[in-house]
Amino acid sequence: MDDLGQGFTSAASLIISLDSDLLSILNLSMRVSLSAVFISCVIGFPVGALLAYCKFPGQKSLIVILNSLMGLPPVVVGLIVYMLLSRSGPFGVFGLLYTPTAMIIAQTLLVTPIIAALTRQILEDLWHEYSDYLNSLEASKIDRMVTLLWDARFSLATVLLAGFGRAIAEVGAVMIVGGNIDHVTRVMTTAIALETSKGNLSLALGLGIVLLTTTLIVNALAHLIRTKYN
């Protein structure tokens, strides 16, 4: 209980004093996760839309694979990205390992299947409703995609936030490819893991509370958007 109490006190003091280390970690966490989610949306929304209304051989298998990829273990993704970006790997020449870019790549790989699979589910339902109308107008593939994505925008905002939740809370992949280097690749989750292993439980808990608050705000935002506009 002492640790819990100290954790809350520590969190409050870190936030109130606008601790520069905390701000730096928070800033990097947001930058990495938001970038990963943005890239995932750019890829995942169109992929999800195409899978929702285009019929082609192997479509069902692709959907099953995509749904399975939603549960990708972060450490496995981290390991794969590590092998790809390490000096002996195919992309080693770019020197990306232990940089925020490597962390963005890892999180993008984790989040894109989630965005694409959930987008497909939402847009498939909408496609059942709109298909006769859009077929009647002989709408182009692009027009179909734009119509579905725009009309499902509020539901897709929730998908986006679900992806963000996964990214911001993820630790395994960013630890492996980022290396948890102070002021370079240290994000909230890796900092919590480090402080815990050092026995500095109150600081770890403080950071945990900040992380929880961030996720809570994100989820509240998602709920607000859904109830207001749906």
Partner: protein, 244 residues
């Protein structure tokens, strides 16, 4: 809106449509020409809506031919889509009334400089001006069907397919929609519609195509059909005695 119906007649021959071996449409043969409101009449499950969708092209036939008189890809300023369709349950986008019509114009590649004018005319024609900024999903059922008609009006089609457009509407909304149908007809648009409402068929139609169990049993002038139906099924339907 004034259309010149060069795409008609529409000739349907040996048309079949089946799903998983079940024949839903069987050997249809008919020809539809300009100048008349043609009504597909028949009980539920007769194949009226399927035939309409097959003619419109949103369903592919299992076999048979649907032949229009001219190339449908030719479009003019007056006619922005050769044929369009209004569905029994209006399919409306999650946008405002105005944005729904704008979407139709945009998808049909209407030049930007013409869209505002067409939009205002379509709203005025259907009396939706005052509610044009409301979400389409929030307006009444009658107004939603008017919006579907407004979208069709905006395209000045040569042929308008209507799939039981007043089934879910109250009498006053039904009259509004029927008046709009007459306006389309006056403007030269060929009306091809389905209904199982005998009174509506009598009010609107010049020509009846009577369907039963996926087959076309009669194609005749409306007056003759109601005065003296040729088939036993049609006679039973008019008397309200035809059951599936």
């Amino acid at each position: 809106m004034r259309t010149n119906n060069k795409i008609l007649p529409l000739e349907v021959s040996r048309l079949n449509y089946e799903i998983n071996g079940h024949k839903l449409i069987e050997n249809l043969n008919f020809k539809l020409d300009t100048g008349q409101i043609s009504v597909f009449l028949g009980p539920n499950g007769a194949g009226k809506s399927l035939t309409l969708k097959l003619c419109h092209g949103i369903l592919k036939p299992s076999s048979g031919n649907i032949i229009w008189s001219s190339d449908l890809s030719e479009k003019s300023d007056e006619t922005r889509q050769s044929h369009t369709m209004v569905f029994q349950k209006p399919i409306l986008l999650r946008r405002s009334v105005r944005a729904n019509i704008e979407h139709t114009l945009k998808v049909c590649k209407i030049p930007k400089n013409l869209r505002a004018d067409i939009l205002e005319k379509a709203l005025a024609k259907t009396g939706l001006n005052k509610i044009s900024n409301l979400p389409a999903k929030a307006i009444s059922g009658g107004e939603q069907q008017k919006l579907a008609m407004a979208r069709a009006w905006a395209l000045s089609p040569k042929v308008l397919f209507l799939d039981e457009p007043t089934t879910n509407l109250d009498p006053s909304a039904t009259i509004s929609i029927e008046n709009l149908i007459k306006e389309f007809h006056k403007a030269g648009t060929k009306i091809i519609m389905t209904t199982h409402d005998l009174r509506q068929a009598q009010r609107l139609s010049n020509e009846i195509l009577f369907f039963h169990r996926g087959r076309l049993l009669e194609q005749t002038e409306s007056d003759k059909f109601f005065a003296n139906p040729k088939t036993k099924a049609a006679r039973a339907f008019i008397k309200g005695e035809l059951f599936w």
